[in-house]
Symmetry: C2
Subunit: 339 residues, 2 copies
């Protein structure tokens, strides 16, 4: 009973037709008489036949799947992005091979190699670095779309992004509007591929005529301990900081924990706001003001761009999706002294 899976030949023999006819029944192309179709379907049901995607893929030179590379599937932003890609891929009948590069460009390069070997119909990536042969992957057998982040020096790769600069700007304007002048900025490490958030922070302050103190702009690697250390360093070094803008949820988490540890009341002693409206922002006490990036939409649009709009791809620069400022209770008006 546990023989090999039935093949198209078995079905053809059992239904008394040629294999071409069976293929036509299952692929939907060509014309088959109703009677024959029924006979074929019955035989297939009998034999528990399912067309092999391998045979099909070999002939068609494509696997019917796409690859998706993220830094970490457990990150809430990545997870939402994945969900968006899955939703879109489903509507287009493609499956999705997911892998995590954990911020390691060489690991990412390996994954790209593997995906190309799989002959995926395309790759969506929240890229870690430029080590992978993105151009090669885009050329050889599939196309590439970046989602949520771009890599400098690869302008020809289409991208779907959140309007990070706009998000940080609205956050900065909001805090400034509350009267804050000495705002601490927790940002990504110097080696990070993109500094749009820090740039937006500086630009917005400059525009508002608020001087930027270098001492208040700190960077951390994207890890919990590094984020905590950065936040602790900032708040201990400068007890005149009245607000903290965290450029990511890990940094926001660190800010919340450090504030609690230092017995700072939020927002009375220090206001906290962050980029990325993750689940806990609402559960924290007080609930955290955040800028929401449309992670799911980014994934969905990236997948659409990859599979659906090969013509429009990459024209007119990256697609920017708007962010939304979600005001909660963690930011208050400036008070005179913190302690």
């Amino acid at each position: 009973m546990t023989g090999r899976p039935a093949t198209i030949k078995d079905v053809a023999a059992s239904a008394g037709v040629g294999i071409a006819t069976v293929s036509r029944v299952f692929s939907g192309s060509g014309s088959v008489s109703a009677a024959t179709r029924e006979r074929v379907l019955a035989a297939a049901r009998d034999l528990d036949y399912r067309p092999s995607a391998l045979g099909r893929g070999l002939k068609l030179r494509r696997s019917g799947g796409i690859g998706l590379i993220v830094p970490d599937v457990t990150d809430p932003f990545c997870a939402e992005l994945i969900a968006g890609v899955l939703a879109c891929a489903r509507t287009l009948g493609e499956h999705v091979i997911v892998d995590a590069a954990h911020g390691d460009p060489s690991r990412e390069a390996e994954i790209v190699e593997r995906l190309v070997g799989q002959r995926v119909d395309g790759v969506i990536a929240l890229p870690a670095g430029a080590e992978a042969d993105w151009r090669g992957a885009a050329r050889v057998c599939s196309s590439v779309v970046f989602a949520g982040r771009v890599l400098p020096g690869l302008p020809e790769i289409p991208a779907v992004l959140a309007d990070d600069a706009g998000g940080v700007r609205s956050l900065t304007e909001y805090l400034t509007g509350l009267g804050h002048r000495r705002i601490g900025f927790l940002g990504a490490a110097p080696g990070s591929p993109s500094r749009v958030r820090e740039d937006a922070f500086r630009a917005t302050l400059a525009q508002l005529g608020v001087p930027v103190e270098e001492d208040l702009v700190v960077a951390a690697r994207p890890a919990s301990d590094a984020a905590y250390a950065a936040a602790a360093g900032l708040l201990q070094r400068r007890d005149d900081v009245t607000a903290v803008l965290a450029a990511g949820h890990l940094l926001g988490e660190a800010a919340v924990l450090v504030a609690r540890e230092l017995d700072l009341r939020v927002p009375a002693d220090v206001s906290i706001a962050m980029v990325d409206d993750v689940a806990w922002a609402e559960l924290c006490d007080p609930p955290l003001t955040a800028v929401a990036r449309p992670a799911r939409d980014i994934g969905y649009r990236a997948c659409e761009t990859l599979l659906r709009e090969p013509a429009r791809r990459g024209r007119g620069g990256p697609v920017l999706l708007p962010t939304e400022l979600v005001v909660r209770g963690s930011c208050g008006p400036l008070r005179t002294a913190r302690r």
Copy 2:
């Protein structure tokens, strides 16, 4: 330049050898002289050749990938489980096709069909229901392992689970030990495939000689609104409840929000504890006591069971991984009156 990807034939021709030799170089089997190997590798590099997994898969009758079905990739438990599977699959050189069934058994069945069509080497599932042909999938071309949950009536499918009963027991004992007698239990909907948590709750109370009041055991569909409604209903109906045990993080979140809404102090007025130690448990105020399920390990072990231990598979019932009680500040000793 953007011609078709090079094939093994191109490489063979370019290196002046037979295709069998090229195959041997890349698959590692058979013997090839060092000089020839070098020549082949050089030609391959020149042509940007990557072996097609489709051709290979067709010949070998397996795709070199596994399928992973979860209810929802954005759920923190699922996300950790996925991470575990990815980690293990990586060490074994397999890729992972991920899809989300969103609790819909018919959608799940579709996904299984698709995966079988892809000729995956196996399927790992956190199953939604019995509609899918799990037996068929396990028989025809791949094997199946359940992770994080089992389905009644399919004892022959191997499974890797958290010791949910043990986790709920320790939570119940903990709350009882603090003096609580009227403990509200927020559990899964009646139609849910498994009621081990509720059963464990009842059994533990019975064992401790605490009467179980049916009115305090409520069920909710796994959605935020339903969970909120259930929690609100419970706490409003019974203002003599002194502790709430939430059998999942959605339910725990609901309990926290409802308590806040009703101006109940935690843990002075009501103690809250839940199953699943998600990220926000630590960030909430007060931090939430929870039982941690080893989601990542479950994924890892499930993948190992699938690919590495085909012999031991399914013998001796499901693998149970221990949970851990993480005590934080959300549970306090019983006080006399809540209001």
